[in-house]
Symmetry: C2
Subunit: 143 residues, 2 copies
């Protein structure tokens, strides 16, 4: 039995509602995707090329966009590429990015998260997701 029953059920529900089909490729991509916290289309393509050399890059892109529509993934434009976040991973995090060397540090800060909720509430919003990126210089690049 697969480890990702819940996510697979979610996907199949979406497929059913939209007259879409459950294909071998979608199953393959789903399994690989759910093992990651976040990944780019290109990275996933290289991983899966070993298992199935005929899998096309376009299919990866199409399927990741499908996952976004089904609520399994969340696209995040990161620099020049798009990162697809695995929503089922609970550990939400934000990013510190060095604009000089490209170093990326992930962090979580619940105080910030709480203040975000307060700002939203004050404006009548209910937050579903958010994005916080801090750009600057890492310790090595400050000199």
């Amino acid at each position: 039995m697969s480890k990702h029953q819940k996510e697979m059920a979610l996907l199949k529900e979406h497929l059913g509602k939209h007259q879409l089909k459950y294909t071998r490729q979608r199953e393959l991509i789903l399994d690989a995707f759910l093992k990651q916290e976040h990944i780019t289309a290109e990275e996933l393509y290289h991983q899966l090329s070993r298992k199935d050399p005929h899998l096309g890059l376009a299919t990866i892109y199409r399927t990741l966009n499908l996952f976004c529509e089904a609520g399994l993934a969340q696209a995040r434009h990161f620099g020049t590429q798009t990162q697809y976040d695995n929503v089922s991973h609970k550990g939400h995090h934000d990013h510190l990015i060095c604009t000089e060397c490209g170093k990326i540090v992930e962090f979580e800060n619940c105080d910030i998260e709480r203040l975000q909720e307060e700002v939203a509430a004050r404006n009548g919003f209910v937050i579903k997701t958010h994005r916080l990126e801090l750009y600057g210089l890492c310790s090595r690049c400050q000199h």
Copy 2:
């Protein structure tokens, strides 16, 4: 006398420090840029094409990137394009975005800004800019 003395001085200071030159094109682009709150390179190109049909798009891009380095502008990847924010126009602010109707609320929260600095310091970073976007449903779209 120009309306944008302060920004022009800032730019000239940056130019001086980096052996760069004050050109007719840079002056033209600066004037047009400072009239906007935020704009894309393409939009600026179309605006200026009327005044100077020979101005190249590459020059617009180069100059907007220069403005970013001089601290006059701030690049923000928004969807597929890059928005260049006029820093002098409105100061820094973040965004609440309704994913249903597209409504955007601007906000500023110094507690969050302070916590961001703490996170950065803890990781040895010095922040130059940041980006915080909260996605959710506005009061009208929650029903």
